[in-house]
Structures are given as C-alpha cells and as structure tokens.
Symmetry: D2
Subunit: 440 residues, 4 copies
Amino acid sequence: MSPQSPLSKSGPPSTASPERSQLIDRYRDVRRLSEELCRPLEVEDYVIQTIEDVSPPKWHIGHTTWFFEQVILERFEPNLKRHDDRYFFVFNSYYESFGERIVQANRGTLSRPTLDDVMAYRQAVDERVVRLIETLDPGDIPALTELLILGLNHEQQHQELFVTDIKHNFAANPLRPIYLAGEHRPALPYPEAEFVQFEGGVHEIGHHGDQFAYDNESPRHRVYLNDFRLSSRPVTCGEYLDFINDNAYSDHRFWLSSGWDFVRQENWKAPLYWLHTDDGWQVMTLGGLKPIDPNEPVVHVSYYEAAAFARWAGKRLPTEAEWEIAARAQNASPVDGAFLDDRVFHPVGCRIQTPAESGTLHGMLGDLWEWTGSAYLPYPGYLQAAGALGEYNGKFMSGQMVLRGGSCATPRDHVRLTYRNFFQPEKRWQFSGLRLAEDA
Amino acid sequence: MSPQSPLSKSGPPSTASPERSQLIDRYRDVRRLSEELCRPLEVEDYVIQTIEDVSPPKWHIGHTTWFFEQVILERFEPNLKRHDDRYFFVFNSYYESFGERIVQANRGTLSRPTLDDVMAYRQAVDERVVRLIETLDPGDIPALTELLILGLNHEQQHQELFVTDIKHNFAANPLRPIYLAGEHRPALPYPEAEFVQFEGGVHEIGHHGDQFAYDNESPRHRVYLNDFRLSSRPVTCGEYLDFINDNAYSDHRFWLSSGWDFVRQENWKAPLYWLHTDDGWQVMTLGGLKPIDPNEPVVHVSYYEAAAFARWAGKRLPTEAEWEIAARAQNASPVDGAFLDDRVFHPVGCRIQTPAESGTLHGMLGDLWEWTGSAYLPYPGYLQAAGALGEYNGKFMSGQMVLRGGSCATPRDHVRLTYRNFFQPEKRWQFSGLRLAEDA
Amino acid sequence: MSPQSPLSKSGPPSTASPERSQLIDRYRDVRRLSEELCRPLEVEDYVIQTIEDVSPPKWHIGHTTWFFEQVILERFEPNLKRHDDRYFFVFNSYYESFGERIVQANRGTLSRPTLDDVMAYRQAVDERVVRLIETLDPGDIPALTELLILGLNHEQQHQELFVTDIKHNFAANPLRPIYLAGEHRPALPYPEAEFVQFEGGVHEIGHHGDQFAYDNESPRHRVYLNDFRLSSRPVTCGEYLDFINDNAYSDHRFWLSSGWDFVRQENWKAPLYWLHTDDGWQVMTLGGLKPIDPNEPVVHVSYYEAAAFARWAGKRLPTEAEWEIAARAQNASPVDGAFLDDRVFHPVGCRIQTPAESGTLHGMLGDLWEWTGSAYLPYPGYLQAAGALGEYNGKFMSGQMVLRGGSCATPRDHVRLTYRNFFQPEKRWQFSGLRLAEDA
Amino acid sequence: MSPQSPLSKSGPPSTASPERSQLIDRYRDVRRLSEELCRPLEVEDYVIQTIEDVSPPKWHIGHTTWFFEQVILERFEPNLKRHDDRYFFVFNSYYESFGERIVQANRGTLSRPTLDDVMAYRQAVDERVVRLIETLDPGDIPALTELLILGLNHEQQHQELFVTDIKHNFAANPLRPIYLAGEHRPALPYPEAEFVQFEGGVHEIGHHGDQFAYDNESPRHRVYLNDFRLSSRPVTCGEYLDFINDNAYSDHRFWLSSGWDFVRQENWKAPLYWLHTDDGWQVMTLGGLKPIDPNEPVVHVSYYEAAAFARWAGKRLPTEAEWEIAARAQNASPVDGAFLDDRVFHPVGCRIQTPAESGTLHGMLGDLWEWTGSAYLPYPGYLQAAGALGEYNGKFMSGQMVLRGGSCATPRDHVRLTYRNFFQPEKRWQFSGLRLAEDA
C-alpha cells in the first residue's frame, strides 16, 4: 500500500478543519482495523460460508463498504455513478428498502467479485468518503457525521462477526487451520464466586446523552426491580464440565421445551467447538485446538444451554435491567475481560493476581457476551425510524434474547453499559456465555 | 347412558359430605361439558388431525381422562391397575416425566383405540375418580382437591382446543362441514373507538389469594409503567379490511423480520379462514361460510399480523401489564364478549345497544384472545415446580407471546384478569385478535 | 341391505340378455368383494393414512366408485347429474386429465364424506351402472364392456392396496390391532432349492390374444436371452435371517449406492414389519404379531434389499423376460401360493407335502410379488393411449422396477403370466419378496 | 515450474524403456490438460460449489490426484508415507471401501487445503507416479498399466465435470463471469432431418477386444431389436423453441409423472441456462450470455424434458442398443460434433457445408450426450468387481438413464461407441440433449 493510500495511518496531514480531520481519522482507524483482521487469511478463506449464519470474509469486507456507499454516498452524491451496480445486489444484507439481494445462504457460492475487486471497491469508496468529508457544505456536516458514526459502528459489528465467522469456518475444516498462532497462557483462577446483592426499587435504564448509541437502547426509562443478587463472575468451563458430567444434556428437567428439541435434534453434548478426544475435552479456538481450561469462562453456549445450566445450578439468568443496573453501580472499577483490541480472540478470564474487594463483579465487560433472561423487545416509548435505518434494529424485535457485555471479538470502544446485543436462543457461534443471578 | 351414570346431571343424590359432594358436582359438570361438545360430531370427525398443532377430538377426550388417571389416580391409588397400559403412551401430551409418547404429528394416524374405547375409558376413570372423592381419607382431601381443580382447569383448556381444532379440521375439508348450524346475527357497531388513558407508576400485577390460578400467574409483583392509553374496543374486521386493502401484506415496512418471512413463505393475504370469493371476502366459521361482518372483531390473526396492523395504524400492542392494570381498573363493569358457554363459537362484538359511558373498555374478556407485546417469560420470583407439574407451564417460557382475555371458545369460569395464555407468534388457529395501545 | 340391493348376491334374477347378465354378475362379484374386505374394520379405521403411500380405506371405497362414475357414467350418461360434484375433487387419484384433486398426503385428513356417505355413493353408482348395462343401446355394449372390465381390474388393484394399506396402518398403531384373527399354521419346508435351467435364444414375451390385459403388457415382442437358471422357490425368512446375521445391513459392499442411502437414512435393519423383541424376531401380520417362520417366503423387502440379498448370495435377480419365459415353460403345473381369495393375507409358502418333480418352480404365482432386475419401461412398440386412460400406466414408466407373480393380497383372477407390477425401488409396504437367478 | 517438472511438456527425455516412456507421456499429457483447463480461473473460482451435484475445481484437481495416490501408489508403494493423511478424508468421492469422507454437499465449504497446497500435492504425486513407472519391477508393469489407464480415464471424466461444474458456478453468479471469451460463430443449418432406417434382428452390443473400456460396457452380448429409424441429427434449439411455444411445459400430457413433479416443483420453463430477456431467449455459455441459435443442438435438458419432447413430436427416444447399432453401422464416416479438445465448450452443430449423403447420421459423437430410453442396468453376465473398483460403476445401476455419444466437454479420445454415460433423469447440468427415434 503506497503512502498516499487513504487507509495509511501515516498518510499526509489532512488540510481539513479539525472537526473534519477528526472524522477522517476515526473513519480511517476503523476501516484499517478491518483490513488488519484480514492479514492471516489466504485468498480461499475469503470465499466460504459453512452455515447460513456466517458470511464469507469477502462479503463482510464488501458489505461494510456497500453500507457507506448506499447510506452516505448515495445521499450526499446522488448524481455520482455507483462503483458497480451489481454490487448493490451482492452486498445488501437484509435491507428490504434497498430492494432485492442475494439469498443469505448463497453468499458462499460467489467467487466473483474477487478479493482484489472487493478491495478495489473498498479503496474507491474510502477515497470518495474522505473527499466528501473534506468538501461537504458545512451545513451538512452534522448529518454526515451522524451517518458516518452509524456506519463505523456497523463496521465494528462486522469486525466481530468477521472473527466469529472465521472461527466457524475453520472449526469445520478437517485440516483445523489456525487464524492466529500464539502461546496459550492458562487462565488465573477467579476469586471465589459470591453473589453480590443489589437493591431493587424504581431504577432507570437505557441510553441518554449525546454519545452514540443504537436506537434500541432508547429511550431511557424507569423499571421496577425486586432486590437481586448477581454472581461475581461468569460461569467457568470447570463448572460447565460438572454440568456435563452430571448428564444434564440427557435430563429433560433442566431444559426449556424448545431447547430440549434442539438438544436432541442437534445432538448437543457440550458447547460448540468442544471435542471429546482420547485426551479428554478439547476446544477449537482461533489459535487451534487446545485442552479445556477449567478456569476460563465458558463460551459458545446457546441461551437454552445457559438457561439449563442456571436451572441445574438452582439459580437463574439475570434480566437485562438487573445486569445494567449492577454494571452501572460498579462503574468506577470494572474488571474487564479481553476485547478484539487485545488480539487474543479467546476469553482470558481473571486478570488480577490479588483478590479484588469483596462485592466486585468480574468480567462484566469483555471476554464474552452474557445471555440475559430478557426477550429482545422495544423499550417503552421506542420509536422505530422510518425508511431503511428503521430496519437496523426494530424489525428484529421478535424471537431473540438479549446479551450484554461484549466479548473478546468486540472492539473495546464499541461496547457500553446500555448496549443490547441479541440472538436467537439456539445460536452458539458467538462468544456467548453466562453469569448467574438469584432473588435476594 | 343409564341414569346411574356418574356423568348424568340428574344422577342419584350423593351421600358424600357437602365438601366432597361439591367437588363431585364440579367434576361432573366440567366433564359433562366436554361430552356435550362432542354431540355434533360424526365418528370419523374424532380421528383426524390436519396439522401438527391440532389434535383429533378423540385424543382430547382421551388425554384429559389420562390426566386424571396419571396425575390423580396413580397418586392416590398406586396399587390399582391402570385401565389400559398402552393408553399411557397414546394419551401423554408433552410430559417427559411420564416417559415416551406418540409423536404429536402422528396423533391423527391412530384409529384405535376407537371412540367407544375412549368413551369407556372416560367413564371408567370418572367412576374411579368419583369413588375416590367419596372414600378418600379426610386428611388427603385438600391435596386431592388441589389436583382435581388443576385437572378440571386442564380439561377446560382442552375444551377450547377441541373447538378450535375442529374448526381447523372442518375448514380444510372441501365439503365445508358445519359444526353448529344457526342463524347468523350481524354484529352491532361498537361505540366509536376512543383511547382510554391510564396512569402509570408502580403497580402490582399477577395472582394472589386463594382462588385457583396457574403457577405462571404468580407471584404477584410490582412493575413500573409509563402512562398509557388503551383502545376502548378490539380491532374490527372492517378496520382489518382497510389494512388489507392498503396492500399491507405486500409492504415489508410494517412487519417484523421473522413475520415477513412467514408472510412470504405461507403466502398470507388475510387472516386464517378468510377466503376471497366472487362474492367478496368470506370467512369460514363453525357455522359454515359467511360474509365478513365489518363490525365484528377480527380473529385468527398471528402476533405478526397484530403487530403489523398496529404499526400500520401508528399505534402499538399493549404489554400484558398494561392490559391487566387497565382491566382491573374497570373491574366493576366489564362489558364482555361471548364465551364457550354461549355456544356461538364466534365473536359477537358489541352487545349493548345504548352507548356505554365514555372511557369504558369493551370486550376485554371473551370473544377473542388479545395479543400483547409481551414475551411469555417467568414473573420475577417465579418458581417452576419440580416433577411433571413443573412441565405444565414453565418449560414453555421461550419463543412465545402472551395473550389475554379469553375467547368465544373459552369456558367463562376458566378465565380471569391475571390469566396468561401464550402461543408462538406465527400461530393463527386460535381465536386471536388485538386491541391497540399508545403512549400517553 | 335390502334384498333388492344391486350388491346382494342373491338379488332378483336379471332380465337382461345373457351377455349383459354376465356383465352384471361380474360387476357385482368384484364390487361385493371390496365390501367383504371392509367387514373387520371399525368406522375409525376407514379414515386414517399413516404415510403418503397408503390411502384411507374410505378413500379406496370412494375412489373405485369414482372411477366408474368418471370413466363410464360420464361417458354414457353425459347429461345425468353427478352424485356429488365435490367428490370429483376428493376421489381423483392421479388423473391430471380430470383436473385438480386433493393432495395425496392429505387423504387421511378428511373426515367427510363419512363412511355412510361413501357407501351411499357406492350404492348409487352401482345402481346406475347396473341400469346402464341393462338399458344401453346394443351397439355400445362392446365399448361399455371394455371400460367396465378395466374398471373392475382397477378395483381389484385397489382391493390389494386396501389390504396392504390397512396392514401398514395397523402395524403403526401401538395397540397392534388385528384385521383377521385365525390360528397360525407353520409353513411346510420347501423342497431343497435347486436352480432350474432354461434355454436362451429368441423368445416372445408380452400379452396377446383377446383376454384383458393392461396396455403396458403389450405388444408381444421378441427378446434375446442367454441361457439362465431360476431358483425353484422364493427366498425364505430363514435365509433372510442369515443375511441379517451376516451384518449385511451394515456392509456397503452388497448395496446399490442409492439403496445404501436408504439403509442409513431409514435405519433399515430387517424387512418392514419385523421387530426384534426379547423373544427374538417377530413379524407384524394382519393376524397380529407372530414369531418369524424360517420356512416362509420373506416379504416386505424393497428392491434394494432384494438386490443386496442376491449380491450377498452370489446370485442375481431375474429379468422380467426370464421370469415370464420360465413361468410359461411350466404353465402346465404351477404350484401356487396364496391369493386374496384364500383370506390368509400372509404368504403360506410350500403347500405340497410330497416333493414335486425336480425342476419344478414353486410359488411363481401368489404369496408374494417377486422383484425383478428390470426397470419398468415401455415394451418395444408400446403406444400410450391418448386422454386420461393414457395416464393409467404409461406416465409411470420412470424410476420404478418390475415385479411379477401376484401376492396373497392379489385376487386370483387378477394376475397372469404377463402381468407387470411396478414400484419404486425403496418401497416395502407391498408383499414383495424375491427369487434368485443365475447365468447358466 | 522448473524445467525438471514432470508436468513440463518439454521435460528432459525419459531414460525409461519405450513402453514405460509411452506410459509416462500419456500420463503427462492427460494430467497437463487438467492444468490447462485451470488457466482461466481466479483463485476464488476454485473454492465454490453452487449445488451438491457440482464440485469445486480445487476438489477435482485434488480428487484425481488422490485417485492415483490411493489406487496406485498405495498398492505399489505400501510402505511409503502419504502426502497428507487428511487428504484421504477430503478428496475421497464416494468410495465406501476407503472409509469416511467429507459430505459431498460440503465440498464448497473448505478453504484449506489451498490451491497452492493442492497443486503441490498434485506435483508430488506426479513425481512419484513417474518414478514408479520408471523403476517398477517389469513383472508388475502390466498391472500398473491397467490401473494407470483407469486413473487417466477417471481424470478425463473429471475434466468434463470440471468444465460443466464451472459453467454451473458461473451461471449462478450475478456478475456472469466468462470462462473463455471468443467470437461466437453462428451454427450452419443441418441438412433436412430424415429418419434413417436400420434393420432389426439379433445384434451384438457392448465392448470386446483389448482396448480400454469400463466394466459396465461388458460383456458383449446379443440383443433382439425390431426394425427402427433414427433421426439424422439431434434436436435443435429452434425445434425446442417450438416445443416451448406450444406450451408443452404447462401440458401434463407430454410428461412422465415424476417429470411433471419436477416441472412444477422446479418451475421449469426451458432448458437450464436459458433466460427469457427483453431481447428474447438468451443462453448462458462458458463464453457468456448469447442469443439462442435455432440451428444449434439443444443441450442442458433433463431426460424428462427429452422424453416429453419426443412424445410431443410423436416420436420416442432410441434405446441404447439402437443407438450403438446405428452408430456402428455408420462407423466409416462419423460426422462429429465438438469435443473438449476443440476448446469451444459449446455444441457447434453442423460442420459440413455440402450436404452429406442421404442416410448419414450427423453428430452421433461429440457436441452433446444423447439421452436414450434405456435404464442404466447391468448387461447380461456383468460381473461387478470386488473391492473399491467395484464401486466405480456397478453400485450406480439404479435410478439412472443411459446417455451416449460424448459432448463438447468430453476429451475426444475418451469416448467410444460402446461408452455408457448415466445420470438421474432430472439432471440438466451436463451437455445433454436428444435425438429422436421411431419404430419402422
């Protein structure tokens, strides 16, 4: 990449105003991270799709670019020629407002556009976006900024999917490719788990203020909660092994009815990526196959497994309101897990050698998404935007459960305490685990 | 049936104590109603099952009997011989705790046991139950009563299913059989719809007290609500026709994403049982095919259709807490719709000629189940019972939405303001409609 | 049924001409047999359908009647009113020429028309057919006769299906109903099997002459065969047990590729209706469950199993030409198996106590249909009729294999040496077995 | 590739004996052709698989190499180390004898081994095979030769599949990639079609002699045929358009029953790759989209379509015996169509400007595979080999139809008059068309 490349970190100083210049920097930083994530891949790795849920890396690269072209350039440069009309069919994800698109399950059957084509598309759009920021009428800058920030958050979401999708694709390959080799450090044991009490009553949750947040985090609103207790740490692989060894996967009493259907149809016996080998339980990671570490938080479990584990343990999952209120109560000193920025792509678990003060919640942010017992529904007073952006979150408010906290595949500056992630209760390919709760 | 039959209304006076005698009467009344519902059927009608959701009438008759034998007689007469061991396989519905059972979708492939066999089973169990009530040790009467009341509520639920399942079976038949002929009276127009305001704040919902309620209605607990408004009446067929005629079934903007999938896969164009004929829209009822009556409440819509209608109308669905609080606020004068007891098997809509006072909610109970915007989840502090009875409600708390109010197929004394019905969001074969809400 | 019933055997003497009278007698005889087959059934048994391949007994009764109304009455009485227009939708099987029809898999979801309705339909059509025979213009009698004979052969085919379909429905029922109770007589051992040699060269096969035959048996034509040998008897259950015990169901080497797919997908371990119990292998029959009799011919095997058995045994299946030529060569003294007329509904195997002459083929006709290695294709010079009757056989000449000989569910006067039965290679619910062949 | 590469055309002169040297040359020629076919592809094109029937180009390259390693090197060098043990799982196609293998439908989900890995595998095996030929004990040369010839014929089959699979993958891509650009020359019109008569009687068909042939072409055997006539040329696109324009795709009367199911389920309206555009019918080719040429032979039709066309035309398809006898009768002067060697990858139709003598059959070999009316079954006396090579052809003798003649994707020296190709009757992705026949 030449020094003049708009993606280059050390490019020539922008002559734009400080505000515009900041926007360009932010744009380039986020876009560059996506390209860094590509580095370990072979050309062939960009093409494949092992299940409908995952998308080919090439598609992620193209789709995030499409979003900027479709949502921003089409609006501010309506008369300019599209890079390639056919990409509007190929790289649309689920926006009905933008017309027909390729069937999701068929994304892995497209060899063209090639990786080079997609990278050229990416570069061309980047150049146009940067030029747009530099030259747009000042009165339009606020509107542009709002959409750019949305586009960059969108790209961050796809950075996480990029990593989790590659993990799925590699784990299905009999050659067990390694995305990022590295020495594996065993996790430290967590301090002994305790159930930390929080007071109920009328609380407020949800987003407010000027910072970016998705529409589904608003409006901030009141909720009434009973007193509750939250475990000081996520459930570990060691605890999950106890659950497995207690034959919980063969005992209907712990399972929701639709979860039990999945257990039997899919023949679930353990979290996704766990393999029972002659050397005991092993787990496929982005660094290759390794033995289960009992001190690590368990990940790649479905909501059904999380709920069954909680019932087996005589506890329950927290609601999203409980999670958010507890997380905010400890805002001063979150003891975080790993994020995408750490490039470990695996939960690290406990990071502190000396025990924290009693009552500390460990790992609320990072390492893994925590399933809550809350269905993904609109907050009271939620307004779904009109047009295509209304499709971003609102139309998925059915049949999914909320997860909180962010994972080792999430960019650190993408999460926040009000962030609502959501997946269908049977999904397991995300870094999803759980933390127990109980009534006070 | 001989006059000595335990099912006979005018049977010989019971010699039991008043408490036992009352229990016997209640038992006989509920059981007799199931048999009355059978009268219009031919033998062949008892056997069939058009989709997995519905069960053959013969199966309902046997299953409700099985429940008394399995849950009550097996407990209080553990050494007595079962009526027929094979029925424990055939008539188990979904209780994993009771072992293997016939695949639900195959219930309609069993010609044996015959109707006569099943009726004999029913009579034999009835005789044993009555004898048990008469002779049980007084100390066990409270435990027996509790289970009997549960069994009778269970039977009432199946009375509703019996009717709605026959409707589905008959509607699928090219000969369009009629379950209950009768003159159709056009519905009166409702008073003009208004949005009645209710005050928010901390309220209590859920069951308390001595009366029977399902475990999922407990515990009573506090919720915080914003101020809200509820429409004074359900959405009518006339309004729903406007929605159809506005091409809402072809416009993705009104639909949840998974709902839109159903619209296209199932080619939905109107509520279930609506037929577009040369004479305009007609609807299949248990009394045969008849023209759409614009004043009637619309029924047989899925949650997806209810939510799409609300979005189209610029409103939303109420939450179950809003519904319950509003219903209780008007407890003094509910203006009811039809119940099973009325034997019309179709919503009647408005029943009053002179307009009610402004602010009156019409038809909160009866006529139709109203979809709410609430996912079916445990109330805070809910405890799922151990053993088979824990399977009654708790294991279904995933992927379903709550409906409130009771329908024209529900026994009147089965519903209450805290009653939580629940179905998957795509189901349409129940008498399910909607009432609009909005933020205050 | 009144003595005047056209179905009554001892009805009043017909005043028709001898030729017409004979036709009426034949018509009544065949139709009466169908009704006799109904006698052991309960009303509920008429309604059900356990898999798409089988049809409800009620449907067979209606469909054979429909055939006479549709093919004969509609032609000779074009202005007369149909019995019920809706039956033309309900009782059409696969005739595209006659328009839309109910989806085959849904035949078991129709409770109406009731059995009584269908029997009334049957009686009404019978009366009209008899009257037609009595009164038709003499010049039209040959055309009528031809269609009547076709209709009666069609009814005989459905008599066989009626029996085999009930067997499937009953075998799927956990109560194991019995169609026809009776003492089970063990089969005699066959004389020791020998491979009987036949001379090759140019032979003729296929139908010729005035007797009725289906169009697919024509034209008679020449074939060239190598010398070949045919086993003197069908494969027995004892021999098939050896095949099972040699783990042949787990050994891909014996199986056709598409057969191996079925073995694994359907988890085949033995013929249909064989059950491995604590008391060893048992088999479900129309007389109930009974132990495997090693001397009986094996039935309810697919073509794939027949071909795998032959390969396991180091032999092959005969072609249909070989079968027909061998059967004709021994025309003088066929040693038959059971037919429908014998009312045993199960293969009887060897019926002679003293050994037949060496070189005798046992059981070529009756007991079981013998899979051949011939695909069901048109004979050279075959002409598919125009119109609906062209749909009778011709359109199925793809993807099916030929079976020869007739079974214990086939009316004796329905089979002949040129008769070509055909089923898809995975079907097992017919009384289908095999006889081995080898090159000379 | 270094000059010493065994794949290099101008490699150093072999020092092997003339016989061995010839074998090496043949081996290198065939292997080199596969690599030439790769040249127009991008790396991404090697990875994808649009339907289960097609395989990724990378897989073809690996699988043909695997065949040499598995069948030849494993036999003659049993103690040598495999190139990569995991490839035995990845590149096995359907050989049960060689153990587990990747599910066929998942071949397109493997990004690893990469193209470079597979090419390295190819080169390594080539080197070992050449060294084996050079050094093997002379007594083993005949056995080696036999297997090598089989392996090279196997590779030729995959060369054809390679081309037809790429066509399918490219046609499914909205960017419509071009495999081989080139000027399109319109086809010459064929001489007027005539039905050429052949005499029946006892003929011989099948392979005999020393030349290589697959086991399914043997043994040579006698058949009896009636006199018959064969069309002098394949059916053209122009004729097929008449069939389409006569609404034959909506008229059940022309279709086999299972074919009619496909027409409706798959919504067939024309041959595969035909597109109805604003500019009329166009067809996707390996050279891109082009208008239908009415003089070209029609290709990419299923057996069902071929049989329906024949019935519509009042003719029939030839049997494979008729085809072979007619082809041999004209052996002296076949007027061929295109082969893979011609690099046009599309049927060229008539190649002669001056009309051939009356009675000449045009295009019996090359251009397209001709569907026959014969099921793919063993010839009389066919012996399926033991072990893995017995899986090559014999286990597929069920449910498929025979095609004859070779196509524009078949290597010219791979076909012969006795060659039996076979596919399921619904397959359309091969270059398959038809020639009409009739009874004399």
